[in-house]
Each structure stands twice: as C-alpha cells, then as structure tokens.
C-alpha cells in the first residue's frame, strides 16, 4: 500500500520511495528512506496535504506525493 492510504493515527514502515527528480530527492533528504517508520498524524482542512510523524519530528507532504511512498502497515 502507499502512504496516502494509511488512516489517521496509523503507522507504516517505508519499503520504497518512488517518483523522481527534486521531489524524490527532497523526500529522501528529509529522512523518508526505506525502513523508516512513519505515522499519519492528520489531514489538512481541505483534505490535502497530510501531516506525518517520522524520526521524532513532523513533516507535511501532499497526498499526490504520498502516493509515491510505498509502505507496509505496522502496529503502533
């Protein structure tokens, strides 16, 4: 599954970061690397972007970009 499909409050472990160019680079730089655990914290008022929690901090990314992040669901 991909990160955008994860429900609020649930966690997953990244298996792959797809996409290309600047965006992908940025995601990797911010610590969204394979084997990293992420939790979906909340969704912005208009349903986009989303707020995620990883490596002890909060990051916001758009739903479209979250579709490029493959995850495996894990228990909290």
């Amino acid at each position: 599954m991909t990160l955008d499909e994860l429900e609020i409050g649930k966690s997953g472990v990244i298996t792959a970061v797809n996409g290309e160019g600047a965006l992908r680079r940025r995601l990797l730089d911010m610590g969204l690397t394979p084997r990293t655990k992420v939790m979906v914290r909340k969704v912005a008022p208009m349903g986009d972007p989303i707020e995620i929690h990883l490596r002890g901090y909060e990051l916001t990314i758009r739903v479209d970009d979250a579709k490029d992040i493959e995850i495996e669901r894990v228990a909290d």
Partner: protein, 664 residues
C-alpha cells in the same frame, strides 16, 4: 578569521547568531552571488567574523539557498563551520552535518536545545558522539546563552589548528567502494576547481548536475562514472539517490543508538501536538487563522498602535512647535523657516508618527513566524493556494508582505522552484505593506465616519488580496502555467520566541524606519518644499499653485482624470510615493499646509478618495522593493515589468472602481 554558521531551519540558528554577535551585525551580500546574508563580529573576539548561512536541510542543489550555501562554503576561505543542530531532533539534523563534513573544512557541531533535552529527562553522550563523528561537539542552550562561550573557544581552537573532520567513511561495502572509486576518478578535476574530491564523488553519484557541469568530465570519465554507479546500484539493490541518503541515515541511526539516551518523551513535542489539535484542526484551523489575523490587525491599528501613535504624534507636534517657536523668536529668514517647519518637519513628522504602529505590526509578524505558527498556516492553506498555482509555502512571504515587501521578497528565496518564486514575488506587493498604512489611515480618518473607518481599513487590505488572487489566476493560466513544485515542509515544535531575538528584530525595524524617515522622506520633503515654494524663475511664490511643482503636477494630473482626482497635488504625491510609500502622505502634508485631515476633502471628493486609495494600494512598489525584485530575480526587465505592469493595472482597476461607485 571567518566562521560560517549553518544548520537546518528551526534549530535556533538566528538565536545563536544573535548571542554570538550581540549587536555587532550587518547585512551584506555573499560575495559573487547577490543573496544577502547577515554577518557579524563575535563578541569579545574582534578578529572573528561569523556569517549566518541560510537554513537548509541538505546540500543537494534544489533550492537557491542550498546552492548559495554550497558555493559559499566551497569558494570562500572559511576557517571553521559552526554547524548548529537541534538535539531534540538529532537524526534529521545530522543529515546535513554529514554532508558538511565531506567539505573537508574544520568544523564544530553545536548541539542546541540541550536544556529541553534535560527537561525531558534525556541526554546525549557528548564525548562519544564527538568521537563517532570525528568533529568536536559542544552542548548548547542558545536561548539561555549556555555554552556559547565554550563554543567560541572550541571553534577558534579548531580553526587555528585547522582540524578537519576525522571521520569520512559512513559505511562499508558497495557504496563505500563506489565513493572511493569515483573520488579517485575525478580527483584532478576536483582539485582544479578546489572542491574536495570526496564531496565531488558523493554529489556525482547522487546525479548532481551543477557538480557534473563544474567538473567538466571527459566522455570517457562519464562512462566510467556511470559504470561504477550502475555496479553499486545492482549490488545494493537500490538506486543511486536512495543509496546515499540511506547510507547517511543508517550511519546516523547507528551513532544515535550509541549516544542518545531517551528516557522521557519530548515535552515540547507533546505540547505542539496538543496545540496543533486546535490550531490545525480540520474545521477550526481556518476560522482560527482568520481570527488571529483579525486580532493582530485590530491590536496593531486599533488598540496598541493607535494608543502609541497618538502619544507619539503629540510628542512630535510638541517638538515641531518648539522648533517653530525657537526659529521665530530667533528671527530667522522666513524662507528658511518655511523650509524647516513646512518642509522638513511637516514631511518627516507626518511619517515618523507611524513608527509605533509599524513596530507593533512587525512584532506580531515575527511572533507568528518564530513561534512556528507560520508553517501551520502554510499547511492549512496549501490546497487553497494551489488553486492559483502556488504552494502553501508562498503564503509565508505574503504574510510578511503586510509588514514590508522587501523582506517578503527576500523570504521567497526559500521556495524551491523558480516559477513559484517569480509568482510569489509578483503577488507579494498586493499585500498592503506597512508603509501604505499611513496613507490608508490618514484618508480614512479624513473621509469616513468613525464607525466606517475599521470597515474601510479591512476592505482595503482584503481588496489587495482579492486582486492578488485574480492576478495569480491570470498568471497561472498564461505566463506561469505548469505544475507547482513539491510541498515538503517541516512543522517545527512550537517555541516561545527568544526575548532577545524579538527585541533585536524590532530594534532593527525601528532603526530602518527612522533611517528611512531621515533620508528618503527627508530628501523628498526638501525637494517637494523647494519645488512648491519657488516658481521657474526661482521667485518665492505666494500661492503654491503658481510653483514649479504645480507645473509638473498639472502635466501629469490629466492622466488621473478618469480616476476622479485632477488636483496636481494628488499627482505629485503619487510620484513621490515611488521613493517610499510614506512619502505620499509626507508630500500631501507639505503641499496642503496645515491640518491634513481637514484639508484633504478640499482636494478629493469621497469617491475620488476611494479611487485614490485603490490606486495607491495597487500601483508600483517602492524603489527598495523594486531593487529587491531585481536582486532576487536577477532580471532588470522583470523589475521594469513589475513597475509598469502594476501601475497600468492599478490605473485600470481604480478607473473601474471610480466609475462604478459614481453610478450610486
């Protein structure tokens, strides 16, 4: 000795910079590039200069700030990098550190927010961390000024001994081998352009184009590079970009596992989550944002600002009447008396009385930004802004635009794409800057009943925003179509802005404003006074409508006939407004002579006043803002386009507004 202060955004870099330099700081350009950065002398060490680098997360060349930082560090003879990191968010902060270490420049890591770590019951084994990273690590609590002296000592020592980072290998295996092979392959090229071969190698493996171009590799070398990288990819099972990011984070995770002892949760983080459960709530976030902005404007213009401004105005009037009396009793020549009292005092005084309001506005804007709320606003507003082709991050420069367009235009530098940057810069002037505030309030006071005044003020601000949105929509459909850039942004923990930083920022703004009043406004007032006191034969005129200025104004004023104001004084005020928006009011004050609130209705009808306000709201930004546009866009023609485009647009809108209200 030169130190470079670098680190992520939101890790207390500005606070540390202020602690290091005290008030010995100035803004200067980075040599070679036209990006401004703060510089300052370290307190107690007059021979040590520190340069504040932009807040960045990586040295990948994807935002102009990252490129500037990288070029600066490579090209300048830096004696020591002070890399400030947030101890409470250490993993991601060290990611930049590892890249900085590859630059082979003496470096010290300042581990900030150690006070928060302690408070949470967590610690970091400093000695062990320092050994693992191969650079000195100094614990710090910048807000409390703890550890700053030690940091300076150690940085000076590191610089004097030219102690370079000792650890450069962050992994073993395929990636390690690839880096070494590439470093060896490009060594000569890297030496030629003074880049450490190790840094060049990792950047090449990541597919970094600016580095590739700078090194001027031969085709043969490019083939070999590709071969090495492909081999690494097959061996590790990942692609080149992920492999290197992965390598760095793996290394960091291992180091942190050995050195960071976490027993408690981060209180600041838990608090932020709680605050956010309200401030970024799905339903309440937007009303709360609107509410916060409304309260800020109300406090600025209604409560604090008005109260302070009134007091300040009384003070200024006292000073002016003292000068007036003094000069009269001295029996000074009436023309000189007129120059000082009717020219300089009226002009500078009319602008200076807005100092308190503007300081209050900047205070609130800096609180919004430094507390971390601005990032939330970007998060909440992203979807809305995407409709006009921008991202939530563009919202931050625009909000700053309510203070002053110049820092707002400069803040657009953090935007990751050229297209977003250009569009944000073009749209920022639609947010009424604080210099337009004197114009609005003087006119609103003169033409509207007290109960209508707040409504009119808010209307003007909103009207500007609405026009900005319209222009944005048009730009999106025409000149700037294409996809907005990725929106990947940190939501930092809420923090109380440091008292010292806020005071210094306010002091800076007040100083800027006073300087402007006594330079640009002063000069403009003297010129206006001169032109309105003499005729073309340099005789003193009895009525200013016979003066040189009237002549010039009369030439221009027909242009404004469709807008409803034909008085030459209105046209003149608009021309001087190009030097600084406050000059519109200082000019009118000089020209009408006497009480401006009482005199304005003799120049404008109420409807013409509305049209005049709409025109001033939208027409060309001031010279300083245009200079900032030119600097940031590296383009004279874009700057010229902004001047002409906005003026024409303002004229059209004001003409429409005037003719529509004439129907009622």
């Amino acid at each position: 000795m030169i130190f470079a202060l670098g680190g992520n955004q939101n890790c207390g870099k500005t606070t540390l910079f202020n602690q290091l330099t005290g008030s010995n700081q100035h803004v200067g350009n980075f040599p070679g590039v036209t990006v401004e950065g703060k510089r300052g002398t370290v307190k107690g060490h007059p021979d040590v200069e520190v340069v504040d680098l932009p807040g960045i997360y990586s040295l990948s060349p994807y935002t102009s700030e990252e490129i500037v930082t990288r070029d600066f560090l490579i090209n300048e003879k830096i004696d020591c990098i002070i890399n400030i990191t947030d101890a409470t968010n250490i993993e991601r902060n060290l990611y930049l550190s590892l890249q900085l270490m590859e630059l082979d420049i003496p470096m010290v890591i300042a581990l900030n927010m150690m006070d928060e770590m302690r408070e949470n019951g967590n610690t970091i084994k400093i000695q062990k961390l320092s050994e693992a990273l191969g650079v000195p690590v100094v614990p710090l609590a910048a807000v409390k000024n703890e550890g700053v002296d030690e940091l300076v000592e150690i940085a000076i020592d590191t610089a004097q001994h030219r102690t370079k980072p000792a650890v450069k290998d962050f992994c073993s295996g395929a990636v390690h081998r690839a880096i070494h092979s590439v470093a060896h392959l490009v060594e000569d090229h890297a030496d030629r352009i003074n880049v450490p071969s190790r840094f060049a190698a990792t950047k090449l493996i990541e597919g970094d184009e600016p580095m590739m171009n700078a090194l001027k590799l031969s085709d043969n070398e490019k083939d070999m590079l590709e071969h090495i990288v492909t081999e690494m990819e097959t061996e590790t099972g990942t692609d080149r970009e992920a492999a290197l990011a992965d390598m760095r984070y793996d290394f960091i995770e291992k180091v942190c596992a050995d050195t960071v002892i976490k027993t408690g949760k981060s209180k600041a983080h838990e608090r932020s989550v709680k605050i956010d459960s309200v401030l970024t709530h799905r339903i309440w976030s937007i009303p709360i944002f609107v509410g916060i902005m409304a309260v800020i404007f109300w406090l600025t213009f209604g409560v604090i600002g008005a109260w302070l401004s009134d007091g300040f105005t009384v003070l200024i009037d006292k000073v002016i009447s003292l000068i007036d009396m003094g000069l009269t009793s001295y029996g000074i020549n009436p023309v000189v008396h007129s120059l000082i009292v009717d020219g300089v005092c009226a002009g500078v005084g009319s602008v200076l009385s807005f100092l308190p309001t503007i300081v209050v506005l900047f205070f609130f804007l800096s609180m919004l930004e430094d507390s971390g709320y601005m990032a939330r606003v970007a998060f909440v507003m992203d979807k809305t802004l995407r409709k006009i082709g921008l991202s939530g991050r563009s919202f931050v420069p625009m909000i700053i635009g309510f203070g002053c367009s110049v820092p707002a235009i400069m803040a657009s530098r953090t935007l990751p794409s050229d297209r977003d940057r250009k569009m944000t810069i073009i749209l920022t002037p639609f947010m009424s800057c604080s210099a337009k505030l004197p114009i609005y309030s003087v006119f609103v006071m003169a033409f509207f009943a007290p109960y209508l005044r707040p409504v009119m003020m808010i209307f003007l601000y909103i009207f500007g925003m609405v026009m900005g949105v319209l222009v944005g929509l048009v730009l999106k459909k025409t000149a700037f179509h294409g996809e907005p850039v990725p929106f990947v942004m940190e939501l930092p923990n809420y923090r109380m802005p440091g008292f010292k930083s806020v005071v210094m920022l306010i002091w800076d703004k007040a100083k800027d404003f006073i300087t402007k009043a006594f330079t640009i406004i002063f000069t403009a007032s003297v010129i206006i006074w001169f032109l309105q006191t003499f005729d073309t034969r340099l005789n003193v005129v009895t009525d200013s409508s016979m003066s040189m200025l009237a002549l010039i104004g009369q030439l221009v004023s027909p242009i404004f006939r469709p807008l409803g104001f034909t008085d030459w004084r209105a046209a003149t005020a608009l021309i001087t407004g190009f030097s600084a928006k406050e000059a519109v009011i200082s000019t009118l004050s000089v020209l009408v002579g006497g009480n401006i609130n009482a005199m304005l209705p003799t120049i404008f009808t109420t409807k013409a006043a509305i049209s005049f306000l709409v025109f001033t709201l939208l027409y060309t930004p001031c010279v300083a803002a245009i200079a900032a546009v030119k600097r940031e866009l590296h383009s004279r023609s874009m700057a010229l386009l902004v001047v002409v485009g906005q003026t024409v647009f303002a004229w059209c809108v004001a003409a429409i507004v005037y003719n529509v209200i004439m129907l009622f």
